[in-house]
Amino acid sequence: MTTKLQGGSVTRLLLNDRGGRWFLATLAIATVLVLALNLLVPESSPLHVSTYMVTLLGKYLCYGLLALALDLVWGYCGILSLGHGAFFALGGYAMGMYLMRQIGDRGVYGNPDLPDFMVFLDWQTLPWYWQGFDQFWFAALMVLLVPGVLAFLFGWLAFRSRVTGVYLSIITQALTYALMLMFFQNDFGFGGNNGLTDFKDILGFDLQADSTRAVLFLLSSLALIAGYLLCRALVNSRYGRVLVAVRDAESRTRFLGYRVEHFKLLAFVVSAMLAGIAGALYVPQVGIINPGEFSPINSIELVIWVAIGGRGTLFGAVIGALMVSYAKTWFTGAFPEVWLFALGALFVVSTLWLPKGLVGVVGPVLERWRTHRQQPALKEVADHG
């Protein structure tokens, strides 16, 4: 009964979202296919998908979830955050702390109570803010709470003071930059420059094992699907229409009696939490988290993913993230020095000629093709009449 009801509401959610249906179906099929080709097809077969590839794709899916989070606030509410990488990195650090504690006495120094970098710094006891991270549930809670609370405090101050537009973008950028500098400090207690790494296992499962990698990939895919449905539910509700109203005509929305700052705040906090989840799934797959993840350039690259994919569509943002990340992997392998120029060119092209991103170009073409196919007779009449 419950399943049927949920199935019903998901159908209703995607009723007017053809792109979203295609996107989710493709994602689900691709996930199953990749897993089957990885786990069931022998390594000797040319069809075999390597575990390296599975992990790479899992990493892209995390980027996709991060792009989705940004599209919720930028595409629908007009908040151009240039510091969203910070929430991703904080979620990643929360997961990294759990993975660090899982190492136990298997570190280089063999200290069962302290991570290696603390032994190296000659610390005697675990700092208070590391307490609890040996428990998975606590770490998982922090993955949501730390980005969520930071977004709440930051958003509360910024939105209440009516900081908008470029000024808001600049202070979000400053936020992630400040966090990067803090995390670089050895004394800050998060491994400084090197960050957290040398992870061994998660919930008792070996992180290097093919099966663990496959499950992490599957979880990333499921998180992306769930995140998509959540964001779609938000933007389809009356709440979502208020967000669009804030984006298009903020002061009009105020005079309609909506407390704009509260609407922005909720979207910002939900978005930060989604970014945190993306970071938490990313870290066990790549095996490291360091302050570089706070780097402003990461957040800007994230904005480019969304812009190229097409903002305000949700699935467009994910597609942009997947495509640009793939291009980055390819470029940095083949022509490493060209990548930043290619990225810059992509941004210029999408700003000048693709204001609605790839989705804005491909969508209408598909639409025309569909109507053409469905009503050939009508089209003929139109052509000859």
Binding site: L234, S237, R238, Y239, R241, V242, V244, A245, D248, A249, S251, R252, T253, R254, F255, L256, G257, Y258, R259, V260, H262, F263, L265, L266
Partner: protein, 262 residues
């Protein structure tokens, strides 16, 4: 009866009373000791040359601008005993107390449909969580349909706000105001950029609305003011210059000197 700062008494059917309001921007007094009284159910036109303080007056009433001096007393329908000083509230709070505002430039939500624009304006709870789980009921749908008929946009209900003509946007915005179910509507230059026919339809619409609510209209178009057939206030340099019927103010020598005679 309440006493104003000038010692004059305020009639019982007062809805809004601006009491010696002064607003200055870098020394320039946009409103200079402005006092103004709007009664319940009144339709009032405000005229005056550019810079007379008409828009600033609306900003002060709706909580956008805080005055340097003076009070804006508002008597809500549900608690007629105590007056509220609107200068202590922000835009959203003032809107929820029953004061709706239409801007000079039509501002509808361009990427929402006509129907969605009206639904957004619909009176009701305004918190994020309330909107998250809001389901529209039949009474509300009926209200929106009735409003669509009133503003002549029934056939455009599924079109985007961006695709309406200038006049239609103005009407949509008036429709949105109505669905807020305000006590008082502040309407800034509703006839700007309209054809003659649209102008007269708008005047009809506002007279229709003024049967149940108080309406303050700021306008330059004298034909339109005549069509409204109501009491007129002339503002000049942030102060009331004259008040009365249109004929009365049109024959006032001061008004002719500063405004009409130009």
């Amino acid at each position: 009866m309440v006493e104003s700062t000038h010692g004059k008494s305020i009639p019982d059917d007062t809805l809004l009373y601006l009491d010696s309001v002064t607003v200055s921007f870098d020394g320039f007094k946009a409103l200079n000791d402005l006092s103004l009284l709007i009664r319940k159910g009144e339709l009032r036109a405000m005229i005056g040359p550019n810079g007379a303080g008409k828009s600033t007056m609306m900003d002060v009433i709706t909580g956008k601008t805080r005055p340097d001096e003076g009070k804006v007393l508002y008597r809500q329908a549900d608690n007629s005993s105590a007056d509220t000083d609107l200068t202590r509230f922000d835009e959203a709070a003032v809107a929820n107390m029953g004061i709706g505002r239409k801007f000079q430039k039509p501002s509808v939500i361009e990427s929402l449909t006509v129907w969605e624009n009206l639904e957004l304006a619909l009176a009701g709870r305004r918190s994020p969580f309330a909107t998250l789980f809001h389901r529209i009921d039949q009474t509300d749908e009926q209200k929106i349909s009735d409003t669509l008929d009133l503003i002549h946009l029934a056939e455009r209900r599924d079109d985007l706000g961006a695709n309406l003509s200038h006049g239609q946007k103005q009407w949509l915005e008036i429709g949105m105001l109505l669905l807020q179910e305000p006590e008082l509507l502040l309407v800034d230059e509703p006839a700007a950029g309209m054809t003659d026919e649209e102008t007269f339809r708008t005047a009809d619409l506002l007279r229709e609305i003024a049967r149940e609510r108080s309406v303050v209209v700021v306008e330059h178009d004298m034909e339109f003011i005549r069509a409204l057939d109501c009491r007129v206030t002339v503002l000049h340099e942030g102060h009331v210059l004259a008040e009365g019927s249109l004929d009365h103010v049109q024959n006032n020598q001061q008004v002719i000197d500063v405004y009409l005679g130009r």
